[in-house]
Symmetry: C2
Subunit: 261 residues, 2 copies
Amino acid sequence: MLSLEDAERTVREATHGRRLCLVVGNCRVNYSGRAASKLSEGDRLLVIKGDGTFLVHQGKGMTAINYQGPGSTVSTKLEDGALIIESHGKKKPNVPQEKIEVRFSHVHFAQAFDLRDDSKLSVTGTEEELAKLLMQEPDRIEPGLQPLKQESYRRHGDIDILARDKEGRLVVVEVKRRTAELAAVTQLRRYVEELAKRKNEQQVRGILAAPGISESAKRMLEEWGYEFAKVGYEAHEHEHAKIKRVERKQKSLSEYGLEEE
Amino acid sequence: MLSLEDAERTVREATHGRRLCLVVGNCRVNYSGRAASKLSEGDRLLVIKGDGTFLVHQGKGMTAINYQGPGSTVSTKLEDGALIIESHGKKKPNVPQEKIEVRFSHVHFAQAFDLRDDSKLSVTGTEEELAKLLMQEPDRIEPGLQPLKQESYRRHGDIDILARDKEGRLVVVEVKRRTAELAAVTQLRRYVEELAKRKNEQQVRGILAAPGISESAKRMLEEWGYEFAKVGYEAHEHEHAKIKRVERKQKSLSEYGLEEE
DNA sequence: GCGATCAGCGGCACG
DNA sequence: CGTGCCGTTGATCGC
């Protein structure tokens, strides 16, 4: 157990020094901004990061019960025998000012920490990588498929992969890293229709490339004359190594200034 | 600074007692499962909750850099002068087993806490509430509009509000609590088309009800013959009180077993 | 800054 | 249990 005065000083100094601050105690929480919320008494963990990030966690559940992003400012005060910690969100255009008030009646623990950390997370297995892989091996989608945007495959017209099939027809490929659902079909449909209009081509095919597809998505897909290509990595353990190989290959190619093999 | 042995005991006992455990120290993090990630050396905060929730936070940024949901299991070991804390995700069908390995070289802090907390967050200002409000005051969408699904407004065919206009035409209303974008238009379109086919009505109108709409979404909306209704709460401070009044009214009505006014 | 899209999305409700 | 969809979604990237 900690006196509220001590806790307040700890939080104030940590905030001032832009250090991580952890507070555990009994509190109520109020939030208002884009929405509003109330949480009555209970023990929680409060995490305040050096960049202003503000997280209130209950003892269960993965997501913070209340939160505020980087750039928020913290203020503290003692009032009516309670320690009040407020976070005021960074002002954003077209969004109401956000505010969280945490009112501690008891603080079990409060401490500041210096976190030295220059590392950044590197992730593999994203949709972007799957698209890259498919650009390298378009036969996985359909034999004879020829991708068009060899370099800078990314976000040209929001189409994941644009290609021509053996008959020379334009093909829009929408890639999903997990089971495709209805939204993926409507997305594909929009791209195909927009492209057909823009290029003035009547025959534009649409292929949804994903490791799986839900039943209703499949129905809607076929109803609209589009196709499904199962392209998921089969063995999850090996896939990442494979993707890495592809990436390394690309890197070495670009080092030599080559556009394609 | 803490000996790794002490830290390991703290984590083990906290896990066993299903208590919250906080660990701060220098570590590397590896994740594999649906995707895979690596994070090299740095100081981080590890949060392990009583329900198995596992969160690795860097000193900046709002989101946990690695995470695992409730139901995960924790194991610890000392190896090569490091404290290794692993989280194994709950097995789910059709998803590869997930695993996080946090390898601490130094632990600055490790402590367990008991969080007694029976409260649940109550939120106001959601889309569901906005839809309720519009059911109560459909004129906000369009004069003369008559909502059809008075009770059990929810998830009938995923349509937010189904209504008839003054001319008796079916109207599908898709409600968004914030600025509507392209996805909202395609969503509306899908509902309208499915309903038209299902009910065999040729004239089904579609209205997108939201506080705002992006330019391209508006273009696409009008291109498809649908309409936009600006319905956002004007004053953010008052809106919630207003919604609350509406809810209370509904509650008291249902207490008397009434279906409508 | 707006907007469109991905995310290891998470969470929830419903069939 | 799959699946759809909201979320104070957050994070990122291109315009």
